[in-house]
């Protein structure tokens, strides 16, 4: 009887522990995903400031600025994941073009506001890619936990499903043709 009780207690403790670990890892994945969103939004917020600063200097390059603004709007409006991936890719390209063109405006390059916005954008780009990297790491940890024994039993019982990696979810992004720089 006592032996039976002890076994039951051990099993309950183990199941609880494994379940909690799975929940923790799942939450971490969700948090990682949210973090990517936060950084993407931050990029949208920075762009009007950038365009405003550049406008005063880049008289002959209206088109470049308009493309950036348009790409930003498309990314915000995108409804499906596939559309958004395409729009984000477009936005990155137009921003790159903008910075390449800005190189030929020494006044603009020296403008303190421009330097500040540029630093913020560089940082945000880094944050986006680091956030993706971290998200994929957490997904990897979570998926592994779901598959290995004995936590796979608990995962099956409580319906923990594997999450997709960021790249897989945005397969469309790779197919989008790169905007060429003339």
């Amino acid at each position: 009887m006592i032996v039976f009780l002890i076994v039951v207690i051990i099993v309950v403790v183990m199941v609880t522990g494994l379940y909690n670990t799975l929940v923790k890892l799942k939450k971490r994945c969700e948090n990682g995903w949210a973090q990517i969103d936060v950084q993407l939004k931050r990029r949208y917020d920075l762009i009007p400031n950038l365009v405003e600063t550049a406008k005063g200097y880049m008289k002959h390059e209206r088109e470049v600025l308009e493309n950036v603004t348009k790409a930003r709007q498309q990314a915000i409006d995108a409804s499906s994941v596939k559309d958004q991936a395409a729009a984000e890719n477009m936005l990155t390209s137009t921003l790159r073009t903008l910075f390449a063109v800005a190189e030929s405006y020494p006044d603009l390059k020296a403008n303190t506001n421009m330097l500040a916005v540029q630093e913020e954008l560089v940082s945000t780009e880094n944050k986006i890619s680091f956030a993706r990297q971290h998200f994929n790491d957490t997904v990897m940890a979570y998926n592994t936990k779901i598959e290995v024994f004995p936590s796979n039993i608990i995962a099956g019982m409580f319906n923990f499903v594997e999450r997709e990696f960021f790249e897989l979810e945005n397969e469309a992004e790779k197919e989008v043709p790169k905007v060429s720089f003339e």
């Binding site: 971490r28 950084q39 913020e120 680091f130 956030a131 971290h134």
Partner: protein, 295 residues
Amino acid sequence: MMYDRIAANRRNSIILVFGVMAFLVTLGYFLGEYYGNGYFGIGLAVVVGSVSALVSYFGGRGVILKISRAKKIEKKDHPQLFNVVDELAIASGLPMPDIYVIQDSAPNAFATGRDPGHAAVAITTGLLDKLDRDELQGVMAHELSHVQNRDILFSMMVGVMVGSIALLSDFFLRSVFWGGGRKRSKNKGGSVPIMIIALLLAILAPIFARIMQMAVSRQREYLADASAAQMTRYPNGLASALKKIAEDPEVLEVANRATQHLYIVNPIKPFEKRAKSLFSTHPPIEERISRLLEM
């Protein structure tokens, strides 16, 4: 790997606290016994030991930052530094640490705090001025690796607990040679416990120094370099930062015996010794650079 390091650092910190406690209790027992009540001495030692452990755990960060004359900065003071640390916090999934700057032209940096939620990174103005964005990222990634695997906990506890005993014993040994004679003239027996303590400390002081050295095994710095490279996916940034630091001959004035093991490169010794010394708290920089470049 990372979880092994976290567990090891927690374990070492606990062993450290008990080790210091055992030392104090032994000391307290002999002193108490001499004055007629050994148990009172033990009790007092336990109280002193617990207080010092608690102060080290909760206040160690403040003490270390204070003696390094580090000043906390806000985002507006150095947006790039803030962004770089913020990026790495995202990359590693750690909360954003507090950022401190040390007004000193010698290039160096360290991290401290009891856990990632209470971590601080400090960098000298000398290093901040020398590095470009990628290099700064490498250095900060190295520091955040120490945060991530809890090296900061153990090195903080060692710095404050062992450091204070080492400094106290320096002070005590000096005062024994100073004031010993006067006491002896008043009361022949009075100097005996003092002499016992003095002897004990004289024996233990080098052992403490050795523990401090071991607190930063060379392996630990290599590991932090490796995880920094993994975090940034760009080992060249840290490698070129280390090169710049290595080429600088300046000595960091605010570093001392209790804090030298915290820094990214040994702040006290000049470069030749930094690179070659067998008992250095840090591995030679050239070796670290070549390992990074091989990644």
